[in-house]
């Protein structure tokens, strides 16, 4: 059997899920390329982190979205278990406040029937307010979908990639694709900022940039992906308002409504907005006064009360890819042979990602006639970082006896130990991440995600990165740029 060299462009949730699924087979030699310093830093990172039930997709307009969303919801239950990803399944409530909204909301019950989503029903005020006392008591009712869940989206991508690498996938970060090489109507590889990578199959999972990658392969020149911006507030864990269900307002034609959820890490999060940006604004993740104000107002309508503004620990914005007509482009092409699009994956893309991965696998199998021989020793499991915070004091004591670094707390807000930071650095190295960033450590350990937003721990983490990678302290990378510009004395010299 000849192995096919596969390059997957984009280590977001779609690309990494495809990598994981393909890694189950002997047929592929897989390289996952990512332009950013770390995995999951595009749309996968900054979103509402909902695992949707699938009752919001119109099956006649978006049959693939409807089907893969439902399948993805089921698959995530298994994937989260195998990969130790923080997830919970509280169900969601689409809350309506007037008869017009009620009418709109009830349409989703019809869609639920068509899409065979279990348990979707209407609940009225008396039941609703018992189901979740944090809802504004002026609500008339809600459409309840019990199969909705929420996941730690950034940890999910990290977990999927770690598992894929464990099963033979090669990760290449800071490798921006500059061209797709096609000879005689066949793909031959990709030109990246880290050199040329030979490939028989190139899978485009580049999210916001998937239009550009598609054009590089000469496919679908009219296809454009527009960024749609969503802004959010994240509150401290220590607030009284903690919705039990995933709450949201009734959707309008361009958004799923504003959500108010308690994340898997116990923070209240509200948002998003849905603002269409120009096609080339693919890195415009700035927040705006207007957007944040809108989220605040809508959440005030949705909730009985909002915590004070002083309990906000972060505001942020993310961009979702919006393809023409909202249609995903998932296709394997004859011309050029070997080019596969998993492009323009907009919502419910995160939910659907595992199902998209299997769908892509089947496309490749059928189109390129691949035998699909299962690996004998494919490992479905990935363990999580050992965390002090999740453990009893007895257990922490035992950990410290084995390794005193568990007894040295680096992040006070989130109780993250030195041992966890070191483990994260080692995991990043093992995964093939070229630059160990402070943000990379934050997303893996949660250090810096608390009330102080890293003002107490960022330099400690930078010191550990410096110590364990040999990079001088001032050259440690925060996100995409350096922590400092130089040593005090060196700068003085350059000035004088």
């Amino acid at each position: 059997m000849a192995t096919l060299k596969v390059v997957i462009v984009g280590a977001g949730i779609v690309g990494s899920s495809i990598a994981r699924v393909l890694s189950m087979y002997e047929d592929f030699d897989i390289t996952l390329v990512e332009k950013e310093p770390d995995v999951g830093w595009g749309s996968s990172k900054a979103n509402t982190a909902i695992i949707h039930p699938g009752h919001e997709e119109e099956p006649d307009v978006h049959p693939l979205r409807a089907r893969l969303c439902r399948e993805g919801n089921t698959l995530w239950r298994q994937w989260a278990r195998e990969l130790n990803i923080p997830v919970k399944w509280p169900g969601e409530l689409m809350v309506f406040f007037n008869e017009e909204e009620e009418k709109s909301a009830k349409k989703y019950i019809e869609l639920a029937k068509l899409n065979k989503i279990p348990g979707v029903r209407v609940v009225y005020r008396d039941e609703l307010l018992q189901m979740d006392p944090s809802i504004n008591p002026s609500a008339l009712g809600a459409v309840y979908a019990p199969t909705a869940g929420t996941i730690s989206s950034f940890e999910a991508v990290i977990a999927v990639v770690e598992n894929a690498v464990e099963n033979g996938v090669k990760l290449l970060t800071e490798a921006e694709v500059r061209g797709v090489k096609v000879i005689d109507k066949k793909v031959k590889g990709v030109e990246t900022t880290r050199g040329f990578i030979e490939a028989d199959i190139v899978i485009n999972a580049a999210g916001l940039y998937s239009d550009k990658i598609s054009h590089m392969a000469g496919v679908d020149s009219g296809f454009v992906v527009r960024p749609r911006r969503g802004e959010y507030f994240l509150f401290d864990e220590n607030v009284k308002v903690k919705p039990e269900k995933l709450l949201h307002t009734t959707p309008t034609p361009i958004t799923k409504g504003v959500y108010a959820i308690t994340t898997v890490h116990g923070n209240l999060m509200i948002g998003p907005t849905a603002e269409d940006l120009p096609v080339d604004a693919k890195d415009e993740t700035s927040t705006s006064e207007k957007g944040l104000e809108y989220v605040w107002k809508e959440s005030e309508r949705l909730l009985k009360e909002l915590p004070p503004r002083t309990k906000v620990i972060r505001t942020f914005a993310g961009l979702r890819p919006e393809p023409p007509g909202g249609h995903w482009r998932i296709e394997a092409y004859d011309d050029p042979w070997g080019f596969v699009n998993a492009a323009g994956i907009r919502s419910p893309g995160f939910t659907s990602a595992p199902a998209i991965a299997y769908y892509v696998l089947n496309l490749i199998k059928d189109k390129y006639d691949v035998s699909l021989v299962k690996k004998k020793h494919w490992n479905p499991y990935r363990s999580d970082i050992v965390r002090v915070k999740d453990r009893s004091l007895q257990e922490v004591d035992e950990l410290i006896r084995k390794n005193p670094d568990y007894g040295e707390i680096i992040c006070y807000c989130k109780t993250v130990s030195k041992a966890e930071v070191i483990e994260a650095i080692e995991r990043m190295k093992r995964a093939g991440i070229k630059t160990i960033t402070i943000d990379g450590i934050k997303f893996r350990t949660r250090a810096g995600l608390g009330m102080c937003q890293g003002s107490f721990c960022r330099w400690r983490i930078a010191l550990l990165i410096s110590q364990y990678t040999g990079v001088p302290l001032h050259q440690v990378v925060v996100k995409k740029d350096l922590y400092g510009v130089g040593e005090v004395k060196a700068l003085l010299k350059s000035v004088s």
Partner: protein, 422 residues
């Protein structure tokens, strides 16, 4: 199962900055079995990284740097043999009875349970960060809190950036402006929301004017711009209600934003066990022993109230230790007819919140806004102090003797007010 180590104390002091060190020393002197618990791998807290002078003018009657100031206490600690734990993180506090608390501590030697009669909490403050001051825009590298920038420069010799904009003209912001200028960085501006400076007058002169650093009063940074690294900030004028005025925006190109936008007492650990907070200080509500609503839990230093002088911080630490001793001697602070201390005209906050009138007390207060030619008064005891100038940046510290307070023995409350001197 391994049993975790359990130890007994009269007083556990949390946080080894100046307040905690002073409290631990005093408690030890008073004969209490004391332990000082510190998160970091060294004692001293923030003064360690304060290489500028201005420390100890009241306490030692000498002008010392922060480092020199705190080292004097180390010598004293050593002589007295004060017990301390480094790299020790307070995981949680359990309230067992009014005179028994258990402090669970994670240390590299294992988990310890410190059983104690009293707790002196001196964990200082945290800095307000960029998401707390209504700044929108990008979230690139190049944004630091002043404390973080100071740690980098003065402990590790790393300069964070070359072209700096500082948000906030409190003393921290002013001192950092000078530090950056001294290290060869260009401080483009200090931006202050209020229409008056937030720091001491001496610092405005010595840290900004002497280095030609522009101070923008009544201005606000509305937006940070920069994809990888900070590229510029957008600044606007604010109106009387401190809202940005449309059309007044201008840009300041820079590579670094340093936040010195205020400190907030760091009390999460105590809030979890029911601490009550004064919305004006954002610190706890305390009586004259600096005891909080939780019996036997005392708070001092910047965890109590944001101070402008380390001398006051030390004084509060010592007072809390004396309170702890009084608590232990009496098996709890005896029942007292507390008199509330009330904010009068142009007083933003006043600490402590309750006094007995039966012993000397020190009151710490700040005014709401600057005012000239005023009298600071406590009418219930007929106390007055003429002031040419009162400013929010300068804490009012008043020591009232027991004799003076006896004049108010029939009053229901004690109040402080600022009135025009005419």
């Amino acid at each position: 199962m391994i049993e975790v180590l359990e130890l007994n104390y009269d007083s556990v002091v949390i946080g080894a900055g100046p307040a905690g060190i002073a409290a631990a020393i005093r408690a030890q002197e008073l004969g209490l079995k004391t332990v000082l618990v510190e998160n970091r791998d060294l004692l001293g807290g923030i003064p360690l990284q304060c290489v500028h002078p201005g420390f100890g003018l009241h306490y030692f009657r000498e002008d010392l740097t922060g480092t020199e100031f705190i080292y004097r206490f180390f010598d004293k600690m050593e002589k007295l043999g004060v017990e301390y734990l480094l790299k020790s993180h307070v995981h949680s506090i359990e309230l067992v009875a009014h005179n028994e608390k258990i402090v669970n501590v994670i240390t590299p030697q294992g988990v310890m349970r410190l059983k104690t009669k009293t707790l002196i909490y001196t964990a200082g403050a945290r800095e307000r960060h960029i998401f707390e001051i209504n700044v929108v825009g990008d979230r690139p590298a190049g944004i630091y809190t002043a404390g973080e920038a100071q740690t980098l420069m003065d402990i590790y010799g790393i300069i964070p950036g070359k072209e700096i904009v500082i948000i906030g003209s409190g003393d921290v912001g002013l001192i950092m402006a000078r530090r950056f200028a001294l290290e060869g960085a260009k401080v483009k501006a200090v931006i202050e929301l209020m229409h008056y400076p937030g720091g001491l007058m001496r610092n405005i002169v010595q840290c900004l004017q002497d280095y030609d650093i522009p101070l923008y009063l009544g201005h606000v940074v509305t937006r940070v711009v920069g994809k990888k690294r900070v590229e510029k900030v957008i600044v606007a004028k604010v109106d009387e209600k401190l809202k940005p005025i449309k059309g007044t925006e201008f840009e300041i190109p820079c590579d670094t934003v340093v936040l010195a936008a205020g400190l907030i007492p760091n009390l999460d650990m105590l809030e979890k066990i029911g601490l009550i907070i004064d919305p004006y200080t954002r610190g706890p509500i305390v009586n004259e022993f600096l005891e909080t609503n939780i019996p036997g839990v005392f708070v001092a230093g910047n965890a109590l109230v944001i101070n402008d002088l380390v001398d006051y911080v030390v004084e509060q630490g010592e007072l809390a230790a004396e309170g702890a001793r009084y608590f232990i001697e009496n098996d709890g602070i005896p029942t007292i007819d507390w008199k509330p201390v009330v904010r009068g005209r142009n007083i933003r906050f006043i600490v402590p919140h309750y006094i007995s009138g039966k012993r000397d007390v020190i009151l710490y207060a700040r005014v709401q806004q600057p005012e000239k030619n005023v009298i600071v008064a406590i009418p219930e005891i007929g106390w007055k102090m003429k002031q040419f100038n009162v400013r929010p940046a300068e804490m009012i510290r008043v020591k009232l003797t027991k004799r003076l307070l006896e004049r108010a023995s029939s009053a229901e409350k004690i109040s402080m007010e600022v009135i025009p001197s005419e």
